[in-house]
Symmetry: C2
Subunit: 322 residues, 2 copies
């Protein structure tokens, strides 16, 4: 990631200033709640994708800064609403906003940030970028509802699961990467290439997250190993273990994830089944597949420091699993 | 209202078709939740304001239909999120969506509708309308957070209360009325006039709602008399009663609304105190004042059936209290 961080450093500084000034409000609770989450050390990967794809496409204007801030606000709004939906207690290693200020504040400050995101897009004045990001807002919500409907169904197929994460995670990566060439008025093929890069990167990113939840260290993720298990979330490691398991093992998954009956030692048992069926290795293998698609999508662009940095991001996302 | 309803009937038909098609999704839960609320017989006052102000301003295009649908979606999204924030059980005489599908679905379907609202605005392609409505989205959320922060504080001043309802209710009325002349590319003075009309109409509308909550019939409102009281909401009838009351009465309001200790007969006692201090009559009187401001704002427009219908709306909103 260092190459990317260095390339966008100056622009990112302006994005951070924009974020800070746009969370301002006379209603004190708004900057409090927003900054609790925004300043909690997210990687700002999504706004960096806007800046880097704009840079790679030779964009010379100023709009990318506000567009990057808008993408980060959309992401933050989603996290605030997700915490309410998932009833999460922790986020990025800190207490979730909903635990500190209540569900109400999380819902409403999320709405405020979404409104500000659209205001910034309007200020930039690119209807094509507004189109990309308003479609993304809809698709993300759709993905989340799909997840809700599929929740606690251990028979979810890998394809159904992919459809969920394409919506809830990968769409914003895709939109962020698409905004760069769009604001730079590049041809359709380049816009489609960046979008495909972002989409596949986003899928890979989420799959690695899913694997880490059963195997990584809490410090790395800012959440605890086993959160997904305790919340009954169906993720790819579970889908694979369930499908590769015997009757007794399937009964275990159903009891734990569908009925939520989790006894002492069940997380370790789940991890044991994943080892037995190579579910984590294969989840990471699947992530590598999407990572390769992300890299190949970029093939049409000539070599440049921007392009190399964007390709490095793919490796970074996948290497988190080691 | 009949004059307005008749004038916009043809356009409203298209708005309703747009609403129906835009709640469509492969994710079945989305149209279910959205239509539960949308088809529950709201008056569609806000989209009618878009259509009528566009009509009055001689708008000849097609954009007003999608803009009106977008305004209704913004309103519906707010209601869905409000129910979660207020923990309401009822909405428009039906069970609240959150009771039937859960808080999660209400939050996420609200987000979906907000996304669709922005998509429709982008399709219309007027950056000025996008500006008006994205600012409104932010201001509405700000007003709701302000209400949260002021919640259960019986010492709230009338001015502070007005600031809350300007944000949470009147801003969307103002934006809806502003969109008509904006999409019709009318001069600033006409845009400002329509905005002022909508803003003051919205304040009047909310004040009458507040009065009805202590005195109207449940059927009329689709909610029960006393909901605000039971939820500890500070509204103008309470602000006036508290400020005009003696020490013992103030202790009663604090106990009921701040501590939430409500005994049998307390609602009747609250109504009695409002009668004693003429709090409901004066709330309606205040609403008349804002209604008069709304009417006068329209003075710069020549007489027309559209203008007359818009003036009638003011009377309709206020006469609900009788």
């Amino acid at each position: 990631m260092e190459a990317l961080v260095a390339l966008v450093a100056a622009d990112m500084n302006r994005v951070n200033q924009t974020i800070l000034s746009r969370t301002g409000s006379d209603v004190a609770m708004i900057p409090e709640v927003a900054n609790h989450l925004i300043s909690s050390g997210g990687k700002r990967l999504r706004p960096m994708l806007v800046l880097a794809t704009a840079g790679m496409c030779g964009y010379q204007g100023e709009g990318h800064v506000k567009l990057a801030a808008a993408v980060e606000f959309m992401h933050t709004a989603t996290l605030l609403h997700d915490d309410v939906v998932d009833e999460s207690d922790m986020r990025r290693g800190k207490q979730a906003a909903r635990k500190l200020w209540g569900n109400e504040a999380s819902v409403l400050v999320g709405d405020f940030l979404l409104g500000q995101a659209f205001r910034m897009m309007v200020e930039v004045g690119s209807l094509s970028c507004l189109d990309v990001l308003s479609v993304a807002a809809t698709v993300i919500a759709e993905g989340e509802v799909m997840q809700l409907a599929a929740a606690k169904d251990t028979e979810t197929t890998e394809d159904a699961y992919l459809a969920v994460i394409r919506g809830k995670t990968a769409e914003l990566f895709a939109a962020a990467a698409e905004v760069g060439p769009t604001v730079a008025l590049r041809p359709k093929a380049e816009i489609a290439a960046c979008r495909a890069y972002g989409m596949n990167l986003g899928v890979a990113f989420q799959l690695i997250d899913d694997a880490l939840d059963y195997g990584g260290s809490a410090a790395k993720l800012g959440k605890n190993v086993g959160d997904d298990f305790r919340e009954g979330k169906i993720t790819l490691p579970v889908v694979l273990s369930f499908r590769r398991g015997n009757e007794a093992e399937r009964a275990f998954w159903k009891k734990a994830l569908e009925q939520g009956e989790i006894a002492e030692g069940d997380l370790e048992k789940a991890q044991g089944l994943m080892t037995k069926h190579r579910a984590l290795e294969d989840t990471i293998e699947r992530a590598r597949h999407y990572g390769a698609m992300a890299r190949d999508a970029m093939g049409i662009f000539p070599d440049s420091p921007w392009k190399r940095a964007l390709l490095d991001v793919v490796d970074f996302c996948i290497s988190r699993a080691h």
